[in-house]
Amino acid sequence: MSTADLRTGRPPRLSWLVRLRRDRSLLLMTVPAVALLVVFNYVPLFGLLTAFQEYDPLVGVWHSDWVGLDQFRQLLGDRLFWESMVNTLYLSFVQLVLFFPVPIALALLLNSVLSERLRNFIQSVVYLPHFFSWVLAITVFQQMLGGAGVLNQFLRAHDIGTWDIMTNPHTFALLVTSQAIWKEAGWSIIVFLAALAAINTDLYEAAAADGAGRWRRLWHITLPGLRGVIVLMLVLRLGNALSVGFEQFLVQRDAVGHDAADVLDTFSFYYGIATGNYSYGAAAGLFKSIISLLLIWGANKLAHAFGEDGLYRR
């Protein structure tokens, strides 16, 4: 150790070889994870090249014919693709309007419950559906609201006629949104509860001393306190506008028909993998990714314009 290091109190600067020798076991520990990510995340990035090819599984990526932007041209002229796009945007919009406020409201409600024990109980129940698979969640819906489900069982028993919910393409957006709320709203309150817990309680006391009622305190203290998280969640939501879900639609596609249930995520599967038209599906996937990146970038800009941090700080 040189005198300079002793004076500044910093550890001595070591050459990278020495540091590599010292930390080799730490680096070694990261090898399995990195190897898996390279194989299953980085290598597929090269596979995106297939979007510009007429991919032939027999000869592989290296020897397939290049077709430039043909796949994309075909995609933009494909009625089914645009249907999926419209469905995706529509479902995203419905979810944004109907789903997004629910966790915030629930978090506020739950936060106002005084009894710790009751709160913990409610929380553990509302978190539960998050851990169900989509297949299970949809089965539950099917059993409650489907043609042979509890609701129709009740209606039939009272001669009111039946109500077709699970297979109606016109109300499909409402159906999938309520499924999403049922499954995920409880889980999404976690982050809002944390933000609520972070609000300084002195503010409430001061406001109350100044004569602010509960609604005024909600408006002037609680909501501003949540503002950062709300904007962040909104940015994420907008950035994911083109990913409305996958298994949820896959499982219900047969019941409501493809024209209502096809979204961009399922498009790649049905018109790429299921038909063996890999290049076409890859092109659809790439198209979606690029638009999604633009969306998240735009949403983030918007967040900055409102003076919030968004995903990252300016």
Binding site: S25, L26, L27, M29, T30, P32, A33, V34, L37, V39, F40, N41, Y42, P44, L45, F46, G47, T50, L109, S112, L114, R119, V125, V126, L128, P129, F131, F132, S133, W134, V135, L136, V140, Q143, M144, A148, V150, Q153, G186, V191, A194, A197, T201, Y204, E205, A208, G213, G228, L232, F246, E247, L250, D254, S268, F269, I273, A282, G285, L311, Y312
Partner: protein, 324 residues
């Protein structure tokens, strides 16, 4: 720096010093807060009860139906709401069917092996990246985080997995999704917060990195390890789409979720029906109690583990919440 980090900082900052004060505020209303109006109180109670009912009632009905005899199901005209002659006949019948039995074993196998693989890989990687001055950790971290935002998507990944011979192979259900960068980041942030003195003390006692991880860091972060293991396990237990992609044909290899999908959602043949199995074209829809027994079967393992891990969610989730 992400905003999520701000949330985390805020959350942990208040969670620790204020925890006691908060608990006090919780049980007793502060003097300045006005008592609730009866109407507000009733509305709140109703909403919360409704919320719980929406989740619990369907589960109740499904469990009760699975425990009912065919006669009780007939009397109820479908799903059974009040228990009426409880019998475990449906479960016995279901478990004699080889498809369901294999599926149960397959699901358990995938979940156990997958979770083990994921946990070993993630814990090692998280610890390897957790020492703030170690060589190369920044580079590896960037390598990891990039995959959270950029990926090849469905088809390129499918082509790589099948190109490696993954079609109809167990590993295709496990390895491609075995590493969750998000989970690694959560673990890492906990490992970084392990007291440096503790680690130095271990070092002085002659422990290497492996020893330190095993004897110091892992035991001090049991809660978060349990939460992350649950996340992984649930992911594997619920695996459905991967099966559809990589082994859609061989019903001997289907996990429970896929059987549930085929039996209940697609109305395919069920165990216990006259023509069981998928080879037959005349597969009959099974008795409702049997279908519901399959549903319950997919739920049971989760419900067994859940209560033990559930109380740690807050710590586990918040520290990593949307960290980019």
């Amino acid at each position: 720096m992400t905003n999520a980090l701000t949330i985390e900082r805020a959350a942990t900052a208040t969670a620790e010093p204020d925890a006691a004060a908060r608990r006090r505020r919780r049980t007793a209303r502060p003097p300045w807060e006005e008592p609730p109006t009866p109407v507000g109180q009733a509305a709140k109670g109703l909403t919360l009860t409704g919320m719980l009912a929406v989740i619990l009632v369907p589960l109740w009905i499904i469990v009760v139906t699975s425990l009912s005899s065919p006669g009780a199901v007939n009397r109820a005209g479908g799903l059974v709401i009040w228990p009426d002659g409880v019998t475990i006949e449906a479960y016995r019948e279901m478990l004699t069917d080889s498809t369901v039995r294999t599926a149960l074993l397959v699901s358990l196998g995938i979940t156990l092996v997958g979770t083990a693989v994921s946990m070993v890989v993630s814990v090692l990687c998280a610890y390897g990246l957790s020492r703030s001055r170690s060589f190369g950790h920044r580079f590896v971290l960037v390598l990891l985080i990039v995959t959270m935002f950029v990926n090849g998507g469905l088809i390129p990944t499918f082509l790589v997995v099948t190109g490696l011979g993954g079609y109809d192979q167990w590993w295709a259900l496990i390895l491609p999704g075995s590493v969750s960068v998000f989970n690694i980041l959560v673990l890492r942030s906990f490992y970084s917060s392990t007291s440096a003195d503790l680690i130095d003390a271990a070092r002085i006692d002659g422990a290497g990195e492996w020893r330190t991880l095993w004897s110091i860091v892992l035991p001090t972060s049991r809660a978060v390890t349990a939460v992350i293991a649950l996340f992984y396990a649930v992911g594997y237990w619920n695996s459905f789409f991967n099966v559809m992609l990589y082994m859609p044909t061989d019903s001997e290899k289907w996990p429970l979720q896929y059987v549930l999908y085929m039996y209940v959602n697609r109305g395919n043949g069920m165990p216990g029906s006259v023509n069981s199995g998928f080879g037959s074209t005349h597969a009959q829809t099974a008795p409702l109690s049997l279908q519901m027994a399959v549903v319950v079967l997919t739920l049971v393992p989760l419900l067994i583990v859940y209560p033990f891990v559930q109380k740690h969610f807050r710590t586990g989730v918040l520290t990593g919440a949307i960290k980019g």
